[in-house]
């Protein structure tokens, strides 16, 4: 299997993602430019990654313009055919704008850019990430100004019913409460997947926590999940 990492104008975590996958996890990585529109080299076992950053300067809304880049049309088709897609931070915002994931990421409740380590725990084990992470509490950094996940009551009910919540913010003991929520996200949601369980989005950055040089390799549990067969 191999990973494809898309580079949008304004992406700034694309190289971190590449190094984490290539150097820390020894995976094949292909860098993809947002103006390309050929994903024919990627199959069902491969994974397309949308990295963090500020695509198109966050103009209009975070992710709103990236969603219309030529490559995204291909990503939507790839995802609809069952291909694995993983969006981190701005990548998560783009997936929501593209309609591949439900809901939206709003400005943080406290109006501040939050950049710190947070703890997350897997909410369900019926997806590839949840299965790999199990009941471990992971320490992963967040760095965002617009990370407050929101979905209306009906969508939220569907998410819970279909067990599509992948991660919730918690404390280091794994307890989910208001004080462990860095941005005001509804129900402490840090990451979700689609109903088909092949499209994933999360605000925390696993690629910033996957090298032993950085003294934290918790992120590897998340990235590794995509290397296993469905």
């Amino acid at each position: 299997m191999k990973f494809g990492v898309i580079v949008f104008p304004g992406s700034n975590c694309d190289r971190d993602m590449m190094h984490a996958l290539r150097d820390d996890l020894q995976q094949d990585v292909v860098m993809l430019w947002h103006k390309d529109h050929d994903l024919s080299m990627f199959g069902q076992d491969d994974c397309i990654v949308l990295p963090g950053g500020f695509s198109y300067g966050d103009y209009l809304r975070c992710g709103a313009l990236a969603r219309f880049s030529p490559m995204m049309e291909q990503v939507i088709e790839f995802a609809n055919n069952g291909g694995k897609v993983f969006g981190v931070c701005n990548g998560f915002q783009i997936l929501c704008e593209a309609g591949l994931l439900p809901g939206v990421l709003l400005q943080n409740e406290n109006q501040q850019f939050v950049c710190k380590n947070v703890f997350v725990k897997s909410a369900n084990t019926n997806n590839i990430i949840g299965r790999n992470v199990g009941d471990k509490v992971l320490k992963i950094p967040v760095a965002h100004g617009e990370g407050r996940y929101y979905a209306d009551a009906e969508t939220l009910e569907q998410l819970n019913k279909n067990q599509q919540v992948v991660f919730r913010y918690c404390d280091e003991r794994g307890e989910v409460h208001i004080n462990s929520n860095p941005n005001g996200a509804i129900n402490n949601i840090a990451g979700i997947c689609n109903a088909g369980r092949n499209v994933f989005g999360m605000m925390p950055h696993p690629e910033r926590a996957s090298s032993s040089v950085l003294s934290n390799i918790d992120g590897q549990h998340i990235l590794q999940a995509f290397t296993y067969m469905n």
């Binding site: 939206v104 409740e109 929101y150």
Partner: protein, 83 residues
């Protein structure tokens, strides 16, 4: 015909608008304590060519729905003027 659309995009009423809240507090700090419920959105103007007002309205509506507003978090309205 040339038309100008004046579009307002606002955060949905049921959502917390942190920007509006912070500005609300600042207005109170200025002594304007009668002010409340400040909400901040976007004003967008665009020019468009259409054969008549109905078509112009349809185009503006499409622009709002497909890109200018995300209806999960925002509502929009617009007015059209000739010229």
């Amino acid at each position: 015909m040339k038309y100008t659309a004046h579009i307002n995009v606002m955060p949905l009423k049921e959502l917390l608008d942190p920007q509006g809240k912070a500005v609300n507090n600042s207005l109170h700090n200025l002594g304007l304590s009668q002010v409340h419920d400040v909400r901040i959105g976007k004003h967008i103007t665009l020019h468009l060519e259409a054969t008549n007002k109905e078509e112009a309205e349809r185009l503006a509506q499409e622009a709002c729905k497909k890109l200018l507003a995300n209806q999960v978090m925002e509502s929009f309205d617009f007015t059209l003027a000739e010229g």
